[in-house]
């Protein structure tokens, strides 16, 4: 652990994990807010609290399983492919899949159920990516979970603003996920015997191929589904006539 901390690889993984947490964790809080929207004021805070707690607990459980599973041959290939998909998905402007609509509950239990299901889906993305970037280093895994907590709790508005101001961040994030995926694919127990004798740059080449393919496919898909250049979308407006006008 200490030796690892002294090498550059460790710090690169740390940066990768922070970036992943920001990119994949930002919408978690928004989903929780959406799920609790119709609750009465008092229950809303309860719902948000339970939702956040659920997100964190689910992450810990999922990452525990992910680490066990990724040791099994072939599953790193599955994980790597999933990660490529998550990267491509990140680059899509809007979810083209219309909702299954678990939502809209006016009851605390219903809202919590929605949050837990959504948490599970969202945490899965995050957990696979963090597990891949950590490469089995438990310190990094724990670090990854700890960093994601404040982002889920407070970071959503900032992440939204970040993506609004610097859209390139999303492209970068997709590329990063592809990079990690390429590395993970080569790390699978089935693949390692074949790459063992090969020079070290093979790993970087696989990562680069992963990054480039995610960005290329992601942008291509995004172009295809893009709507014609948007007119300003006004969702609400009104007029107030004042009493002291024209004075």
């Amino acid at each position: 652990m200490l030796e690892a901390a002294l090498t550059g690889g460790f710090w690169i993984s740390v940066l990768q994990i922070i970036a992943i947490d920001i990119l994949l964790g930002g919408d978690n809080a928004i989903v929780i807010a959406l799920a609790c929207r119709r609750l009465p004021e008092k229950q809303r805070r309860q719902g948000i609290l339970w939702g956040v707690a659920g997100a964190i607990v689910l992450r810990v459980i999922l990452i525990f399983f992910a680490l066990q599973l990724l040791a099994i041959p072939f599953l790193k290939i599955v994980g790597g492919l999933l990660l490529l998909w998550i990267g491509v998905k990140l680059l899509q402007p809007e979810g083209e899949h219309e909702n299954e609509n678990v939502a809209g509950s006016a009851h605390l239990l219903g809202a919590i159920r929605t949050i837990i299901i959504a948490d599970a889906v969202m945490s899965l993305d995050n957990v696979i990516a963090v597990a891949a970037a950590a490469k089995g280093d438990l310190t990094l895994v724990i670090f990854g979970i700890l960093v994601s907590i404040p982002i889920v709790v407070w970071g959503s508005k900032f992440v939204l603003k970040l993506m609004d101001r610097l859209p390139i961040v999303i492209t970068f994030g997709g590329g990063l996920l592809g990079w990690i995926a390429g590395d993970m694919l080569l790390g699978d127990a089935i693949v390692t015997p074949y790459v063992e004798g090969l020079p070290g740059w093979i790993k970087h080449a696989a990562s680069l191929a992963g990054a480039l393919s995610v960005v290329a496919i992601g942008i291509w898909l995004a172009r295809r589904t893009a709507q014609p250049m948007a007119v300003v979308e006004v969702v609400s407006s009104g007029r107030h006539v004042g009493s002291e006008d024209g004075k």
Partner: protein, 141 residues
């Protein structure tokens, strides 16, 4: 009548813009006020997976109303006439697009929004607006 577009994000800074407008109205020419709050779209596939688009839209509407609240209260108290709008989209682009579509003569906004940290890290919406707008942009310090 001079048509003013006033982007409002609910921060103390955008409220100061409103104060300035109220203070200024006695001196200046007659103006038509348009308050605009822009909500950043919840683009994530996750939110769209679990919530209907009408749910997401209602969320944006509520957040927008919330952001407009103090500005509207100030204008109401001053007895001024105004129109308010909540739009969804990339913030700077939507402000500029709105000004264009509604043929506004001028954009009046705060130098930066709610958080000094965000401003430091990401730069301000105001500078992006003043760079890309086709009408004069007035920044209130």
């Amino acid at each position: 009548m001079l048509k003013l577009l006033v982007p409002v994000d609910g921060s103390a800074n955008s409220d100061r813009v409103i104060d300035h407008l109220i203070h200024d109205r006695a001196a200046g020419e007659a103006t038509e006020l348009h308050l605009l709050n822009v909500q950043i779209p919840v683009d994530s596939g996750h939110a769209r997976m679990f919530f209907s688009s009408s749910d997401v839209e209602a969320y944006h509407r509520e957040e927008g109303q919330q952001a407009l609240k103090t500005a509207r209260e100030k204008l109401d108290a001053a007895g001024m006439t105004y129109t308010w709008h909540v739009a969804v989209g990339p913030v700077a682009g939507t402000i500029v697009g709105f000004a264009h579509e509604h043929a506004c003569d001028r954009i009046v906004m705060g130098e930066h929004g709610s958080s000094a940290l965000t401003h430091l890290l990401l730069g301000s919406v105001a500078s992006e607006v003043s760079r890309s707008a086709s009408v004069p942009v007035m920044l209130v310090k």
